[in-house]
Symmetry: C2
Subunit: 203 residues, 2 copies
Amino acid sequence: MPASDPMGRLQALLGKLPGVGRRSAERMAQALVRDGENLLPNLVAALREVEETVRLCSLCGGLTLKTQDPCALCRDPRREASQLCVVEEPSDIPLIERAGAFRGRYHALLGKISPMQGQGVPDRRVEALLKRIDSEGVREVILALNSDVESDATASYLADVLAKRPVKVTRLAFGIPAGSAISFSDPVTLARALQGRSPVGPS
Amino acid sequence: MPASDPMGRLQALLGKLPGVGRRSAERMAQALVRDGENLLPNLVAALREVEETVRLCSLCGGLTLKTQDPCALCRDPRREASQLCVVEEPSDIPLIERAGAFRGRYHALLGKISPMQGQGVPDRRVEALLKRIDSEGVREVILALNSDVESDATASYLADVLAKRPVKVTRLAFGIPAGSAISFSDPVTLARALQGRSPVGPS
């Protein structure tokens, strides 16, 4: 088949998905053609269903149904409006929900500062964050960002942007993961765990 | 959104593609929802086009258009019918073609023996191979299989199956890759290169 064939087009599109290289895209496309379990038509149907029914919440940026915007979390009156948890990606929200330790609201940045890839936090998400702080009675902004150089840069940037707002800005603690041991921790993790040490003693 | 939502269904299907784990499927699904470049509708269109136009050649098992079966390679009268190159996957065929060192025909097994995953070579592809040997005047079967335990098992199995046929069965040479050095080669590669050594001298 020529280079500009249907398989080539499918592979090029699959290769645009995160974490999918040229060779992976090739294997996926082949599996879709060879498959005996109707994976291809089922995938088409699932993609179309997502296209038709799913969107990002216009308020927090999390995933929601098109029939339900703002999302259930944003509309829940039992959620604390005073605490706003800032995450990088919509998928971070259910992870924090599962931890069961947060009762406030969320705001997804939909990006982070990544000079190597020429990317930043979308301006409209930062503007939306400031608007929410001004209008929703937010008193604490918790930066629930990852632990890497880009996320650190994003945290610094947001701390600067938020400096003039009357809010406390905090960031998730870094340290030894639960159930892990010092011997399994890398030097950077240990250094951050030391910096974040907290007093213990008779309570 | 509930667990049985459109995103969950899409993620489950993406997770069935080769090399895609749960977390990768999640990231892909998110990218498809968030994307601003129409990746989702384009992907749906490309999948449907492949579904409608592409098939495996009923003879060699390679990729071809539905309007062109058997494929162009199988119908090309200039290809040597006496040499049959057995590959594992359809995608191996263009790779060997690009090497430009083979002028015979192909036969894709569409699988290999993998006891750990409970998989084998599809019986119908082995039967088709025997039928082609009997009817096409094949004199040499070249096993162009990979270099791993499953491929070795597949080669042994095929050598047994083909033992009663009047054909020579050969396998691709193993050795140091072109442009590489001994110091970059692992012990197994070196051992195989030694076993496959060939005489040199004044010609």
